[in-house]
Assembly symmetry: C2
Homo-oligomer: 297 residues x 2
């Protein structure tokens, strides 16, 4: 039985991420960023959320550092991942995209600052992510930039978004998996890999982070689709069943609820097997993998 | 008297940039980029233009390489600058921003591919710029990422765009200069600095590239404002006098036509003085600096 205390671990790690983000956001003013732009960036960046990507990045960085304090590079990498994730949400919410008025119970960026500022705040968050990872003398910084750029770009997150909105989208499982691997999976996988790179991990640790991140990213997305069918609106903090009502392209819609759950469980098992040689039984990464499918929202 | 043959130099360099861009764009398909995204990126990237940023970058890289062929890093840096410049045009043209239907005589990206794809194609171009500069073993790649990110981001190009559209914008010369230093100057300055870095130039060459880029960037913008007042529509390829008609915040509007010309000439002289110890009399960089104010469009 798993006895790892995930709740207290998550709370501590999320507080750590908030502190790291606050430190870096505070530097925007002195850097010469116009105050109104800094405010729009801060509004979405500090709006809470699970902080899954930075938490995964730091978990791998800690693991590879084996008890030593991780370097500032790991903190920069963790924050850069959240900057990229946040920019993607700000742009996705735009009227020309999903046209959402609320996110996490607050008005979306363009509803508060206007559409033009929301486009620019998203652009700035994406760009500042690269400033964060590229600033410093450490030799792995270019590799971190590359990981982040490839995962976020045309063959990663942005490409996945295009596949998701394509008019002639095939409704086949392999297309669905490929789309999610790019749209959300690539950045989650990069989070795990960047944690290993930031702590100078070896090729074996990097390969394990890769397998773990790929599996957890897919499990997370399948669980999201399953939750939309099974959770209550109170648990989700948004209307339940919205995907089905909108006829969205989801795992339950393509292979059914049971096969979706089975696929997610299989991915979690793969993820846990990949990191066992690194963290042993009952470590934080196994708990985080289980959490992706056991969460209620 | 300057006898450097700028026209043939520019034509050759622009052809060189087109070839470098085509090579890199061809790699989008095999990388896993969805074809419809690759097409939207290519449409704006290969739409012509002066290619000023890559030409400046390569000119500095060539100069520092002293006759040896420059490395692939310089080509990557030059293309990355054009990717970032192109993304900024695609986003600037959006309905929520300048709402332009035409650019360089062709329909703007969102008029052809829709607003949602134009946002994503811009995002992808920005991100791919970092993939280009960060991919490779060379030690200066992280420094190049940093130059590009800082120049393009919240305290650079995006920040300048925010200052330009601010509602409470002061109509003072120092604000106008600060705005242009960020909005267009930062990326032009980065182009020059990145050329030096890509060829492994020393601190003196980097400082000279910095002074030159800053002065040329400002001269270029002043000349743009002056051309709007003095050129004919046929020369500009767009209506002349549009700035004045729209009551835009320009150098002639703030300090008058003659003082604007004088300031631009002074900046060109500063730029030429900065690079004379590097290229001697009558080199390409001096000719490019003169071109920024002597061009007819």
């Amino acid at each position: 039985m798993a006895t790892f205390q995930l709740n207290s671990f998550l709370a501590a790690q999320q507080a750590r991420v908030e502190a790291l983000l606050n430190e870096r956001v505070a530097r925007l003013g002195p850097s010469g960023t116009p105050p109104q732009l800094a405010e729009a960036m801060r509004y979405s960046l500090l709006a809470g959320g699970k902080r899954l990507r930075p938490v995964l990045c730091l978990a791998f960085a800690d693991l590879v550092a084996r008890g030593s304090a991780v370097s500032a590079v790991a903190g920069d990498a963790a924050c850069a991942l959240e900057y990229v994730h946040t920019y993607s949400l700000v742009h996705d919410d735009l009227p020309a995209m999903d046209n959402d008025d609320y996110r996490r119970g607050r008005l979306t960026n363009h509803k508060v600052y206007g559409e033009s500022m929301a486009i620019l705040a998203g652009d700035a968050l994406l760009t500042e992510a690269f400033t964060l990872v590229a600033s410093g003398p450490e030799s792995m910084r270019a590799a971190l930039c590359r990981e982040l750029a490839v995962a976020s770009g045309a063959a990663g997150m942005v490409g996945g978004q295009v596949l998701d909105t394509a008019e002639d989208r095939p409704s086949a499982l392999d297309y669905l998996i490929r789309m999610h691997r790019m749209k959300t999976g690539a950045l989650i996988r990069a989070a795990c890999r960047m944690g290993v790179l930031a702590s100078g991990g070896d090729a074996d640790a990097l390969a394990r982070a890769d397998t773990y991140g790929d599996a957890v990213g897919l499990a997370f997305q399948i669980a999201d689709d399953v939750l939309d069918v099974t959770a209550t609106a109170a648990e989700l903090g948004k209307p339940a069943g919205a995907d089905a009502a909108a006829g969205r392209f989801t795992f339950p819609a393509v292979v059914g609820l049971e096969a979706s759950r089975k696929l997610a469980d299989q991915k979690v098992a793969e993820a846990i097997a990949a990191v066992r040689p690194l963290e042993g039984e009952d470590g934080p990464l196994a708990a985080l993998a289980r959490y992706t499918v056991e969460r209620k929202s």
